[in-house]
Assembly symmetry: C2
Homo-oligomer: 358 residues x 2
């Protein structure tokens, strides 16, 4: 029997950025306390949490103290050191679980998992040596992208190869790190599905959104995505398939490419996702609350969409336009309270309501 976490219980969150902050806000709505674990001195999430443990993710005694002080642990990013996870998993439940982390921490494991489910991914091959890279380029062709297997985020640790001559210098940049070569995909749209799975196995998916990137960073998500009903349904079924296979608890972001062959899975993230921020103003229960409900053993809420939304990230200096953007009554502003504004840094986002859901 699933016992829902009672009001007043403490949710521990690994990571103190904007995702942790918005998770903490959602947890507070449900009466939970939050305790942030992060290496930074004043991470954005700490300003809205009851407690902060400031320590490195590989500081085992600190993370064990943290685990003893909370009732359930979740996280805002997937690259938590394995040693840290092993040190806390017997102390306190962690959701989403280790299976999801194992899959999403390694691009090769992720691709093997997805293709093992019968899903389509970009063509890929594991690459450790120059010979393996040459062979992979032979099969996959160019252009292709050489990526580190681990710790990829927002375009970091990736090298584009336009022809096979660039192979040697590209591999040098990985300095012996295991890599994966991925072929380019001919896609017409990138969409994402934000899906939640509860402890009782119930699944709720938000409507797919269409993503546009700029300089390798998500710029906008538009909901509804311009998709046929068939593809939209496919996206949701596919998401449910992935969540069930991992016996997943929590919210997952699933990035998909729309190709002539159907939907191709680009990436999965075992956490709330930037492309799900539109749910804050498009749905009664947003992705952050769905995640908190799921990991707390609560039933999921209604993920149906009442409004059409365009989410726009405010990157770097764009922060300064926030109060002006707020003049548009159709705009809801969400800022992260980050002290330092840097080029390329996500400082906030807006959700622009473009009409009632049809």
């Amino acid at each position: 029997m699933i016992r829902p976490l009672p009001s007043g219980a403490t949710i521990g969150i690994l990571g103190g950025g904007q995702l942790g902050r918005m998770l903490a806000l959602a947890a507070a709505r449900l009466g939970f306390q939050t305790h942030i674990f992060a290496p930074e001195e004043s991470p954005p999430a700490a300003a809205v949490a009851a407690q902060l443990t400031q320590a490195a993710y590989d500081d085992i005694p600190a993370i064990q103290r943290f685990a003893r002080a909370v009732d359930v642990i979740t996280y805002e990013f997937e690259n938590i050191p394995t040693a840290a996870l092993e040190a806390i998993e017997d102390i306190c439940p962690i959701h989403p679980g280790r299976a999801a982390l194992a899959v999403s921490q390694d691009r090769l494991t992720e691709k093997d998992f997805l293709t093992g489910l019968g899903l389509i991914t970009a063509p890929y091959a594991a690459v450790r040596t120059g010979d393996e890279l040459d062979a992979a380029l032979e099969t996959i062709g160019t252009p292709a992208i050489l990526k580190s297997r681990r710790f990829g985020y927002d375009g970091k640790g990736q090298v584009r190869l336009d022809n096979a001559d660039q192979a040697a210098s590209a591999l040098d940049q990985f300095a012996g790190q295991d890599a994966i070569l991925e072929g380019f995909v001919d896609f017409s749209q990138e969409i994402s599905v934000i899906a939640a799975r509860a402890m009782d196995s119930a699944i709720v998916c938000f409507d797919p959104g269409e993503n546009h990137h700029k300089d390798g960073i998500l710029a906008t998500t538009t909901v509804p995505a311009k998709l046929s009903m068939a593809l939209s349904t496919d996206a949701v079924i596919l998401a449910g398939h992935i969540l069930n296979a991992l016996n997943y608890v929590g919210v997952m972001g699933i990035e998909l490419f729309v190709t002539p062959q159907g939907l191709l899975v680009n990436e999965i993230a075992p956490r709330v996702h930037n492309s799900g921020h539109w749910t804050q103003n498009g749905c009664v229960i947003d992705q952050f609350e769905q995640h908190i409900r799921a990991i707390a053993g609560w039933p999921l809420g209604d993920g149906s969409r009442h409004s059409n939304v365009v989410m726009e990230n405010l990157i770097g200096d764009a922060l300064s336009t926030a109060a002006e953007l707020a003049c548009d009554p159709a705009v809801a502003v969400h800022l992260y309270g980050k002290g330092v504004c840097r080029a390329g840094r996500k400082m906030g986002h807006i959700n622009r309501i473009t009409g009632a859901a049809g």
Copy 2:
């Protein structure tokens, strides 16, 4: 020229209860820090605020330190001691301003203000002595309610008089405190309007909600209220009239009675209001964010309603039903994280979505 408070600035909130907590959550969405001033050790709002000053409201040095540490001050309750307000008003701007507080801290001043605007209130008379009470009962008749002029809240400090014989014993209970006798009003509905006024004088009103009380405490607010378009428009015009007269900045809750003679003003509260909680799930921008936007010099957001809502307070033990209520996908749960659950204490509320706004 109005300079909007920049992201990262600190909003000081007097009071640490659920209203302060939900204001702090709204402030966080806009990237602001919050600093709570409250006498309790762990008030609900402090768990989601960057800072807490724990001190009595009449601790002048403490409240002055607090005022120096924040960029703007607001409050979740209107009964702030005048001495405290005088001690901080030159240090830091306070919104809503002193005029609104003066009017709402004293039932007689409030009634005089409202009738001075040409609005209708219950019949009333100031009462300090037995003779004055006898005279007032002569004019107003029974049943009537004798109320303290100051610090009334949720039915406290009120005595019902069913006949003139009860006058002496009723007055004894006020122990020389100034009182006001109010006649009963023949009304068919109690509604309330939650209205916001920005620094640039713009006014946004949420749709009127219909309130039902139980044991003197708000039990439910239903939106839309069953009202003719004429009365609904009257309610909004009347709200705008009150806000303009006070040169008001922030959100105000205005309780109205629907009577055969039209709308009668029962009470005004210079703050976010329990009967406005439905806006959290019925509108893109809720009353808490409207209040924060107003006091921060930001433009107001869109207060239009996308969904019909019934808000139900969770009083005392009803808290234990929260996770069960959440099973209904039409229900959004809001809990206050209060440590101690007492009979009659507001522990949370739910917003039940009853359909798309027509």
